[in-house]
């Protein structure tokens, strides 16, 4: 049975994972050749 502790773990994991993914997105899209603005 999926209880609130499992959901807590899942939400924590997903939240941090999303932060890492956003960081990864920035890494992928970072362009060292020229200023992007």
């Amino acid at each position: 049975m999926f209880d609130d502790q499992d959901l807590g773990f899942f939400a924590n994991f997903l939240g941090i994972f999303i932060f890492v993914l956003v960081m990864a997105y920035h890494f992928v899209m970072a362009d060292v050749k020229y200023e992007g603005n």
Binding site: D4, L7, N12, M29, K33
Partner: protein, 787 residues
């Protein structure tokens, strides 16, 4: 030959990077939606799939009616189960957005042969719309500061506690969909501002219409956008795009808003909307000036300007004078009570106790900021700075949104909800800028590690890419300092200076801007990224904790943990079920207005007042009855045809939100209309006390008696766990009321009004024949309306 090859390779690399970024972005957005939905399910998993609190019960009841009877019946619904004997026109007094949304979802699901109950759909509407709100935040922030900032802002909004508090599963309230509508309307406004597209302008008006349907907070939009337009005009940022973004919104939006019955002519007649019309006129004047400027020579333009300004000022003064006269003729100066209490935070506490009595209308405390937006409070300033580098129409709008939202959140704790998206957007921008610099540095350092000549490859790709020559040159300038591992702010070498000069000659402004490329050392960058992820981790942990522990309690079912384990207090539903099963369908139940919606929705009984609070006098009548001695209270309730009185009492189990703690508002609201109720009569040393020091008026009022009747039998002392002392009057009998039901934990107590003969004790024989006649008459009178 080498150049085309390298350019193809670079273009391919750029395409690959964009493709990878696109996939990552889509995947992240999907996960953000999943997170926004799942983090709001604690209430369902910990308790059950149940509607929460008070207002959602009314919304649920309306949705049930809509799904059962259809839209036309809903539109014309006159509800005789509330505000007895006045009733309430539901179709004309409710914001229908939430109800129509959930009704449509239910209808769609049933059309697809997915037989979900209306309650299930209602419970999960808020989490679904939280995911939508996250995606809308992504779109808005993307318009202001790019995709990376959009992703970050969406991720932060998906779990911000302030928004979670209003959108957990079961919290079926207007705000659940309204926040999405608010952000989406802002997105479409900014999008129109950026593109100048009439298509988006029309969508914007439609989105505004949805917002008007959903929540009274739409006035925030119709005031914020004009302020921004005015700001743009004043700072010389007028453009045709601004005109397209604003003019259709005012015309179409106002027309559509007037279609919503609860708004109607208020859309053009109340002061909340006047700012938009004033700015609309100003915008046209400015547009006209720009148009004429294009047609005339500078000399003629000056003459024309003098003429226009003279005539324009005269017209303006005339219009303003008329407006002032109109506004001044209204006692509240054309503003609604809630709007006035926003502009003057002390207004409600001075003049409208019914608004001041609602806990969510109180100003927030500092800890509540930390609880509700957590680390965002510290990231916002960085976001603001980032918005000014460079300042665009979109970023200035975001800053303006934040500034106004901060003010409003400071007035009412409820409006923390409006602040949350602005805080998330600005924090997202700040974090994204930091990630930008750090990841770029890491990438640069990595490429330097793996490739001996990163600058060369940089040159070739930059030449081939869409970047201009200026960028290439500046890139060269920028890459040089890192080679020597110097701080990025250090002055460039002589060679670079020369190159800069060349560039400056060709393009005078740009190179200075592009020189700002910041590349940090590898270690610092990696450490910075790790620290930011740890910060994000703390934020996530706090949000999940807030969602799980602080904001998931449905308040209709309470729990407490002790050494014995988990205790569940299901007294409210127990009481409503008792009412539903043991009283007649047409019996009237009186209680303080907080429990009105629940009583009609769960017990299906007629109530005197409910959470709509539209009639102050009616609420004051109930307040007066609760504050009066038993006999006077009985007479008031009897005149309202009340058969049962329901009180909520927390003294036995220590439930602090009970009627004794709300009693001061009953006295104040009652005393506001009926002057014989005087607050000082209930106060001992400035406090409402129910112990031995309590005033005789307090210890004899109906509320005290109904709450503490037989209370001494529970422990022999009459110790009130909420107030923390023994009650003053322990042994007494009720003369005009009889206890018919008390729930398991004594949290809800229901009393029945005794029949009239008890009132005329001693004169029974003399009046027997008379009372018989009157009782039959009464019975006869009573039957007629319901037959």
């Amino acid at each position: 030959m080498a150049e085309p090859e390298s350019s193809t390779a670079a273009a391919g690399g750029s395409r690959l990077r964009n493709a990878c970024g696109g996939v990552l972005c889509a995947f992240t957005l999907l996960l953000i939606g999943v997170l926004a939905f799942s983090i709001r399910l604690f209430s369902v998993i910990k308790y059950e799939s149940v509607i929460h609190e008070f207002d959602p019960y009314f919304n649920f009841r309306v949705t049930q009616f809509l799904s059962k009877n259809g839209i036309y019946e809903f539109w014309n619904w006159f509800d005789d189960r509330t505000w007895y004997p006045l009733g309430r026109v539901i179709g004309g007094t409710v914001y229908p957005g939430l109800t129509l949304t959930a009704g449509t979802i239910w209808w769609l699901l049933n059309s697809l042969n997915i037989p979900l109950s209306v309650e299930t759909v209602c419970v999960f509407t808020a989490p679904i719309f939280s995911a939508n709100a996250s995606w809308a935040t992504y779109l808005l922030t993307k318009e202001a500061k790019g995709t990376g900032a959009g992703l970050m802002a969406a991720a932060i909004l998906a779990m911000v506690p302030s928004y979670i508090s209003r959108s957990v599963a079961g919290s079926y309230d207007n705000e659940a969909v309204a926040i999405f509508a608010l952000i989406f309307t802002f997105y479409l406004y900014v999008k129109t501002l950026n593109t100048g597209s009439l298509f988006y302008a029309t969508l914007n008006a439609l989105s505004y219409f949805y917002m008007v349907c959903s929540w009274g907070g739409y006035t925030f939009i119709i005031n914020l956008i004009p302020i921004h337009v005015l700001l743009c005009i004043v700072t010389g940022r007028y453009s045709s795009r601004l005109y397209i973004a604003y003019a259709p919104l005012v015309i179409l939006g106002t027309l559509l808003a007037a279609l919503v019955p609860v708004v109607g002519f208020n859309a053009v007649m109340t002061s909340e909307h006047f700012a938009s019309f004033l700015v609309f006129i100003i915008l046209h004047v400015v547009a006209l000036v720009y148009y004429i400027k294009g047609l005339l020579t500078p000399r003629l333009f000056k003459v024309a300007m003098t003429l226009v300004i003279t005539v324009g000022l005269a017209v303006c003064f005339a219009v303003i004078a008329i407006l002032i006269a109109l506004v001044a003729s209204s006692p509240t100066k054309g503003w609604s009570g809630r709007s006035l209490s926003l502009l003057d935070p002390t207004y409600a506490s001075k003049y409208i106790p019914i608004i001041a009595s609602v806990s969510e209308h109180q100003p927030p405390t500092w800890p509540s900021y930390f609880m509700d937006i957590n680390v965002l409070a510290f990231l916002i300033p960085a976001g603001i700075i980032s918005c000014f580098l460079p300042l665009s129409d979109a970023s200035s709008f975001v800053v303006l949104y934040l500034v106004t939202a901060v003010y409003f959140s400071g007035v009412m704790v409820r409006l923390m909800l409006v602040l949350a998206p602005a805080a998330c957007i600005l924090s997202g921008i700040a974090l994204s800028e930091a990630f930008d610099v750090l990841t770029r540095s890491v990438k640069y350092q990595l490429s330097k590690l793996f490739d001996d000549s990163p600058a060369a490859s940089g040159d070739s790709s930059a030449e081939s890419s869409s970047a201009s020559t200026v960028s290439t040159n500046s890139a060269k300038n920028e890459t040089r300092p890192e080679k020597t591992e110097t701080a990025p702010k250090e002055k460039p070498s002589k060679k670079n200076r020369k190159k800069e000069k060349e560039v400056a000659e060709s393009v005078p402004v740009k190179p200075k801007k592009e020189k700002k490329l910041l590349v940090l050392p590898m270690e610092a960058s990696v450490l910075g990224i790790l620290l930011l992820i740890v910060l994000g981790g703390f934020y996530v942990v706090h949000c999940v904790w807030a969602a799980a522990e602080a904001y998931s309690a449905p308040s209709i079912v309470l729990t407490s943990r002790s050494r014995d384990g988990l205790h569940v207090f299901d007294d409210f539903r127990e009481a409503y079920a008792w009412l539903s099963h043991n009283t007649d369908v047409d019996d009237k139940v009186a209680s303080w207005w907080d429990y009105g919606y629940q009583t009609t929705a769960m017990a299906n009984r007629t109530v005197i007042v409910d959470n709509n609070t539209w009639n102050n006098t009616h609420i004051a009548t109930v307040g007066t009855a609760m504050s009066s001695p038993e006999k006077a209270a009985w007479e008031i309730f009897n005149s309202l045809d009340v058969k049962y009185v329901l009180v909520v009492f927390g003294g036995l189990v220590g439930y602090p939100s009970d009627d004794i703690n709300k009693f001061l508002w009953m006295v104040r609201i009652g005393g506001g209309v009926f002057p014989h109720i005087k607050e000082p009569d209930y106060l001992r040393d400035g406090n409402y006390r129910v112990d031995a020091q309590g005033t005789p008026t307090m210890l004899n009022c109906l509320m005290y008696k109904l709450c503490y009747y037989r209370f001494v039998e529970t422990d022999g002392k009459g110790f009130d766990r909420v107030r923390g002392y023994e009650i003053g009057k322990k042994h007494f009998k009720l003369t005009h009321f009889e206890e018919v039901f008390t729930t398991h934990h004594w949290m809800v107590r229901i009393y029945k009004l005794k029949p009239q003969k008890n009132r005329v004790r001693g004169k029974l024989k003399k009046l027997k024949s008379g009372s018989k006649a009157s009782s039959t008459n009464a019975a006869g009178r009573k039957k007629n309306p319901w037959q």
